[in-house]
């Protein structure tokens, strides 16, 4: 029996939220609290399991069941829960360090097993809780406390990684776009199996402005490609076309014909197309 009368307030716990002012986590939390009533699942059947990091405080602020576990292991704990309790809706809350560094192994195996988990990866491309070291998604050359002359490592692209791990649902969204994030949550919770939701999340303290190009009013609409099933993939200035070798590329709208724009197919089983999409920004 769905409790349709629940409101955002019913999903807000009595705990004081303790992220830094301006942290992108606030808007993700607000979106989630607003989304849960419309999910139609009673509060007691929803579980949030997190690892360690700023984002992993998330479960404390939701009036559902929740576990703030240990670093990197949330997908493993959540797998045991969802396998033995298929009646529950289980979310994993994780960050780029938690999911892709210390918990990388659990992350890829959770995806390939395709058990019913919704993995929300808050990607701020930095270690926040330990006060500013580079993370596995930090761009190469990043200068941080632990990389005074710039990091040497090639970063992970979480979407590419997820595809390589045989994920059956992947979306990328951003903390500040409540509407898009809500749409992604709707689609992910409808999906039966593991879903990876990468959320670009700004950390104003240690990596401010990491996603400004796609947030800034002037650049945003040019830089953002909205992926909508059955519609051509384009921004206000650019579009995606197929090259002669079959690869995808972004070209200025002025240089191409409208008919050549790739039409998005969200359900394609073969992951090569999705992989090519995941590489576009690079």
């Amino acid at each position: 029996m769905a409790e349709i009368t629940l409101t955002k307030k019913d999903f807000t716990s009595d705990q004081e939220v303790r992220w830094c002012p301006g942290c992108g986590d606030y808007s993700i939390l607000a979106t989630m609290q607003a989304f849960l009533p419309e999910l139609g699942v009673p509060r007691e059947k929803i579980v949030f399991i997190s690892g360690i990091g700023c984002s992993s405080r998330f479960p404390y602020y939701l009036e559902t069941f929740g576990m703030h576990s240990i670093h990197g292991r949330a997908p493993a704990i959540a797998s045991g829960l969802t396998i033995s309790r298929p009646d529950l809706t289980v979310f994993v809350i994780t960050g780029d360090g938690d999911a892709l560094s210390i918990g990388g192994n659990h992350f890829i195996h959770a995806l390939r097993r395709n058990v019913d988990l919704k993995i929300m990866l808050f990607n701020n491309r930095i270690y926040g809780l330990t006060k500013g070291q580079y993370s596995p998604t930090s761009e190469a050359g990043k200068i941080t406390k632990s990389t005074p002359v710039g990091s040497l490592d090639t970063p992970f692209n979480p979407v590419s990684l997820g595809l390589g791990a045989e994920a059956t649902f992947i979306a990328r969204t951003i903390d500040s776009d409540r509407k898009h994030l809500t749409g992604v949550l709707q689609a992910a919770t409808k999906h039966k199996g593991s879903a990876l939701i990468e959320i670009y999340q700004n950390c104003p303290i240690f990596n401010d402005g990491a996603f400004d190009t796609i947030k800034d009013g002037n650049s945003r609409e040019g830089a953002l490609l909205h992926l909508i099933h059955g519609e051509p993939i384009k921004s206000t200035t650019h579009a995606v076309v197929r090259k002669d070798d079959g690869d995808l590329e972004m070209r200025p709208l002025s240089e191409i014909n409208e008919v050549d724009i790739v039409v998005h197919d969200a359900h394609r089983v073969d992951p090569t197309y999705a992989f090519a999409l995941s590489r576009l920004h690079q």
Partner: protein, 608 residues
């Protein structure tokens, strides 16, 4: 030809051969047939860590020792009465354990110049007189097997492979073992490959017939069934008993059983066995690593299942952080540690008791949890049930220790009546106003087990210190001090049975054992008492908390001997807890204690 039948009260046989010769299977079959006959028995498999070391070499030798008797026995026997050696390597590797006068049956076909050189025999021991003081039977096992199978469409190699069944048949004749069960077993095992099935059956029967007709053996032996409590018996290894105990425990607690595990020697058989038991509501999850295995078990317990993870020492090391989380969450969890030789990879297929301090203390912070240790293969069943009782009643992770010796060793097990099993049911928290996830039961100090899906109990838990009662995050100094002490008090207060002391003569010396030393200690006690020595015996199965009367027991005996397959880990715990000096007797050779060693060590104390 009429043959003499001699009655014996006990025999120890060791089957030894190349890893590829099927000695474990041969030993297993002989053991099962022996259990059916009703002898008491104990076994000791010994095999290399390599799956197939080079053929015919010493490192490739695998063996299986079985001790069976018409009376109650405790161990697989110190020294074999009979060695079956399938090749020169098996002979060489095992000769040092063979007492003079014992019987040695060898496959003489394998004693070629090349095979002899491979293991460093300069001359053929079957011919050079070096085995003069033994009863040696050189049998052409390979060629007789191949001969018996000549009518089947098999390559020579395939035919040779059935020689272990020839040997089994021969020994089964010699010791009057029933054959139906083995024939049934083979039929089931090879039902899809009729030629191989036929080969094994024919070789098995040919071996039996050979024993019956050959002049090589003029005597066969009878060992009468041992008197035992009425009931239905079967042969049981420790790992199997442990798996069954977990199933029975979860059943008695009315909980689904969830096992998260990662393959590791010598614990994998628990995963294998539980994987077959979906019909009992068992879910098994082969995780990506040891950490995920325990993590998934914690997740399952959180959801209201009996979460279990099975592993060995190196796996415990990897799981420590997650076990600490379970201590903090105060959820039921069982961690089965089938100990093996360490440190690091150590001796994966050999036994040791050296994880005790790791499981007691190998976590960050004050992280107490109960530790249980099974004493014999069949005791693994009872202790697994105890682990379920304690984990669920006290909402705590529990360590259950076994080791390679009892995990792979076996003994007859009386199948219990299901009605005789205890009720282990505990209640989940029910819907209520102002629910407090860290309010405690005044008796057990357990917090409520509040599973997702219960309306009104929505709450958050985690690894950060909890405020008493509410379970909210708390960095309060006084609260932390209180919670640390409360978790310790909860474990210290766990109800465990008193230590039972066996001391008919008012002894001054107590032999204390724990875990798998039970059999060897018991056997030594019998020998010592037969020789007129006064010794008391007690066996610790609950290491944390210790039985309440342990201090009192220790104070009664001026001398306490504690044999351990480590360098004195339990002795260290007992000394620090009771300020009682302990005479340690330690060995870390990857093998159980022999009765003789324990007898000698005790006599030294008695006379010293």
């Amino acid at each position: 030809m009429s043959k003499t039948i001699v009655s014996m009260d006990q025999v120890t046989i060791r089957f030894a051969g190349d890893s590829g010769d099927g000695m474990q299977l041969t030993g297993d079959r002989f053991t099962s047939d022996t259990a059916i006959l009703g002898n008491d028995l104990a076994t000791l498999p010994n095999y290399p860590a390599e799956i197939r070391a080079p053929t015919g070499t010493l490192p490739g030798v695998s063996s299986f020792q079985l001790h069976f008797a018409d009376h109650h026995i405790q161990t697989a026997g110190d020294a074999p009465d009979v060695l079956v050696a399938m090749n020169p390597a098996a002979l060489k590797a095992n000769m040092r354990d063979m007492p003079r006068g014992s019987t040695i049956i060898v496959n003489k076909d394998e004693f070629s110049a090349r095979n002899l050189t491979k293991v460093g025999y300069e001359t053929n021991p079957l011919e050079d007189g070096s085995l003069e003081s033994y009863k040696v039977h050189g049998i052409a096992l390979t060629s007789m097997t191949v001969g018996a199978l000549a009518h089947l469409p098999l390559s020579r190699k395939e035919a040779e492979r059935a020689k272990n069944m020839f040997a089994l048949g021969m020994l089964s004749w010699m010791y009057h073992r029933p054959t139906e069960a083995t024939e049934k077993f083979l039929t089931a095992k090879f039902s899809k490959v009729p030629d191989i099935l036929e080969a094994n059956l024919v070789a098995y029967r040919a071996g039996w017939n050979y024993g019956e007709t050959t002049e090589e053996f003029s005597v066969s032996y009878e060992i009468a069934p041992a008197p035992q409590v009425k009931g239905k018996y079967r042969n049981m290894s420790g790992n199997l008993a442990l798996a069954y105990g977990l199933i029975a425990g979860a059943h008695c607690a009315k909980l689904p059983l969830f096992l998260g595990s990662y393959p590791i020697t010598p614990a994998s058989d628990i995963l294998h066995e539980l994987s077959k038991q979906k019909k009992f509501g068992v879910i098994t999850f082969q995780a990506e690593d040891e950490i995920a295995a325990v993590g998934a078990a914690i997740g399952a317990s959180y959801g209201g299942a009996m979460g279990i993870t099975s592993t060995s020492g190196p796996g415990v090391a990897l799981k420590s952080e997650a076990i600490g989380l379970a201590v903090m969450l105060e959820l039921p969890l069982i961690i089965v540690d089938v100990q093996r030789g360490g440190p690091s990879t150590g001796l994966p297929t050999k036994t040791e008791q050296s994880d005790l301090l790791q499981v007691m203390f190998g976590r960050n912070g004050e992280s107490p949890l109960p530790v249980l240790a099974a004493s014999t293969p069949t005791d693994c069943f009872d202790m697994a049930m105890e682990a379920v009782r304690i984990a669920t009643a006290y909402r705590t992770p529990v360590f259950l220790l076994s080791d390679g010796y009892i995990a792979n060793g076996s003994q007859p097990w009386r199948i219990p009546e299901v009605d005789s099993l205890p009720d282990l049911h505990v209640d989940f928290a029910k819907t209520q106003e102002n629910f407090q996830p860290y309010a405690r039961d005044p008796q057990t100090l357990a917090r409520p087990w509040a599973i997702p899906g219960t309306p009104g109990l929505e709450h958050r838990i985690g690894g950060i210190e909890k405020a008493n009662l509410t379970g909210d995050i708390s960095y309060e100094p006084a609260n932390h001090d209180f919670m640390v002490r409360t978790r310790a008090a909860k474990v210290a207060g766990i109800d465990v049975p008193d230590l039972v002391v066996d001391d008919p003569d008012g002894a001054e010396v107590l032999i204390l054992g724990w875990g798998s030393t039970y059999g060897p200690v018991r056997a030594a006690i019998d020998v010592l008492r037969e020789g007129g020595a006064k010794v008391a015996q007690a066996h610790i199965k609950y290491i944390n908390p210790f039985p309440k009367n342990l201090g009192e027991v220790l104070s009664k005996y001026p001398k306490v001997i504690l044999p351990e397959m480590n360098l004195g880990q339990l002795a260290m715990l007992i000394r620090s807890e009771y300020l009682k000096d302990i005479i340690s007797f330690n060995q870390v050779r990857g093998l159980p204690f022999s009765t003789t060693e324990l007898v000698e060590a005790t006599l030294e104390v008695l006379n010293g």
